[in-house]
Symmetry: C2
Subunit: 374 residues, 2 copies
């Protein structure tokens, strides 16, 4: 295989050593909490990563698109939860994937009208579609409250459908991203647990077994004190880590497994500016770090090895194919390579079709594909 310095830039680099440590840490968390780990593949979107992430675990995987569902189903993952709200027009695609691969794809919805439409379309398509009901435990994105009258109503509709069944309840405490202390995350994690469990109890009181009680976000998975009543968790970004996850205490910079290798293509010390060939497309335009630090920055700048931060400079702006390094650029030279760690790993990784895998050193030991788009 190639060495890092032979790669054309910009290139996506995945440090397998760090990845493995991150996976191991989450395996241990799931084991300690007594729940199955159903890793969310929306970050990695890679069969190779999914195989490592599910090693020795009973659970299946979680996906964010039907393109992921098809890709993983075709590669032997037979237990998949599609954790974005389903609409009837997408059920035909789900059914086609299931027929082709034999995989079972769990669905998600949160209103009675959609449940009726899905039950009806499922009846026309046949099969037996496991459907989760989404519970809102404080993020107020999708989902209904555990005490909503819609909860038993939806379950009743799904249970009555000849081709749908109530798989269980699913919550995502996305508002854990607003936390800044572990104590806050523990509180959100407990609300996520309590909400999901309360919803499962409502369903059981109404005669639905509710085999799945699912929660998941990387911060709550890492910091939950107790998951009594929960059957599985679905974190995803823990695999790679990123600046934002470090800022909210999910990892440290030494855990970051994903980066972009870039080349300096211009250096203008009189303007306090250097340009790299990684701009808004190569790095994504993610600015989530602004929630932590008002300084706009599109990634963390390191030397070519990815081990030493570049001091006195920041990645202040991006154009489509230009990244703007501001600050003390006097030590940078045209042709020199640098590494950029992401604000948000999911978004940066999605700009690439494959990972150049290293074990932390200069050698590329593998290339792993990704499934992008929808």
């Amino acid at each position: 295989m190639k060495a890092l310095n032979e790669l054309a830039t910009p290139a996506l680099i995945l440090d397998r050593t760090r990845l493995s440590a991150n996976l191991q840490r989450m395996h241990q968390r799931a084991a300690a909490l007594g729940v199955a780990l159903r890793p969310h593949m929306k970050t990695a979107k890679s069969a190779e990563v999914a195989r490592l992430a599910t090693q020795g675990q009973p659970g299946g995987i979680t996906v964010s698109t039907l393109a992921e569902a098809a890709y993983f189903a075709e590669r032997g993952f037979s237990d998949i939860t599609y954790a974005v709200g389903i609409v009837p027009s997408k059920l035909d695609v789900v059914a086609a994937i299931e027929r082709k691969t034999g995989a079972r794809i769990g669905l998600l919805l949160d209103d009675a009208g959609t449940a009726r439409a899905i039950a009806e379309r499922a009846a026309a398509l046949g099969g037996n579609h496991p459907v989760h009901i989404e519970i809102d435990t404080g993020q107020h994105r999708a989902g209904i409250a555990p005490d909503s009258s819609a909860l038993p109503e939806i379950a009743g509709i799904l249970a009555a459908g000849p081709a749908t069944e109530v798989a269980g309840v699913l919550a995502h405490a996305g508002h854990s991203y607003d936390c800044r202390t572990i104590a806050e995350i523990e509180t959100v994690a407990e609300a996520e647990r309590a909400g999901a469990v309360a919803a499962s109890e409502v369903l059981r009181e109404h005669g639905h077994p509710c085999p799945v009680v699912s929660v998941g976000s990387t911060p709550t998975a890492l910091h939950a004190g107790d998951l009594t009543g929960i059957t599985e968790m679905r974190p995803g970004v823990y695999m790679f880590g990123d600046r934002f996850q470090s800022a909210i205490l999910s990892c440290t910079p030494e855990d970051w497994a994903l980066s972009v290798l870039a080349t300096v293509i211009g250096c203008y010390p009189d303007r306090d500016l250097a340009l790299i060939d990684a701009g808004g497309l190569a790095l994504s335009q993610d600015r989530s770090m602004e929630a932590i630090d008002s300084t706009v920055s599109y990634g963390a700048l390191y030397d070519a090895t990815g081990r030493a931060p570049l001091e006195g400079v920041s990645l202040a702006t991006v154009n489509q194919e230009h990244g703007f390094i501001r600050g003390r650029v006097g030590t940078l030279k045209v042709g020199q390579r640098v590494r950029v760690y992401p604000n948000h790993a999911c978004m940066m990784a999605a700009m690439y079709k494959a990972y150049n895998v290293t074990d932390g050193a200069d050698e590329i030991v593998a290339e792993w594909d990704r499934v992008n788009r929808w």
Copy 2:
């Protein structure tokens, strides 16, 4: 072909009727100004669009990546300018594309050290590489001042190299994006013209013919009063238009040719929230409109036909696969389709591998591929 309502969402839609009108307008501008049009393909990244954009024009095309250079060269475009700074490690790729396709790829640089390294590498590779010198006319991204002593120095290095030649000078008035009136754009356009022409005169005084005097940005191409001394212009985003280009007076919403078709996947009137299946990956996370309007918004919401704006709502937030519509969402229903026009067309289009082409109606008349990545 399919109809729009049969497409899986999110899907990228290109209105060919509007595209053609936009192309025609720029053809007329170039003709009126007496310059060649070398359209920048960084927005469209499509051979089909490039064929339409270069119809009846003498000029070649401009590209922003070597992946574009290879793609277009393999599809018969033989006169290509790679308008991002070259580094020696990329020259081998350029030479390989030229050898394989017979295309001639113009290069860009702006410092003497890089010129020496490129001249040396070119000598080793052979061939005859046309190199443009980048001139800064006020954006202060890349480029040198027209009166910089580096200008004749760089030209001398390139001319002395056995496998490099001075193609000319190239300027990009990216700071036209900071303008808010046509008068301001005219001033920037004149500075762009004057700087490029002044640089060309310096080169000629030093005995370099400087056949190419290139300028280009959509706003300056549309509003330049005069381009005396300029040989070509390189606008790109004019082909599609977008919200930002409307805000800086390059087009109107009726010219927008690019949009994403999305589906409502959740509706929560009590939260003033509806969710669509187009989030940060489907729409990009471009927030350039914040320079115009401090309200954060990830695109302009229209009905499924793309003709009627949705009133009282905005696309306020994106997660990876969720777009958050805030406001008066009471009229939206799960399963309903909507259209999102981009803040920045280049970034939204880059999230897709192909265009679903319409003539403004419901029928998909063609699918056109794109060349993404590097």
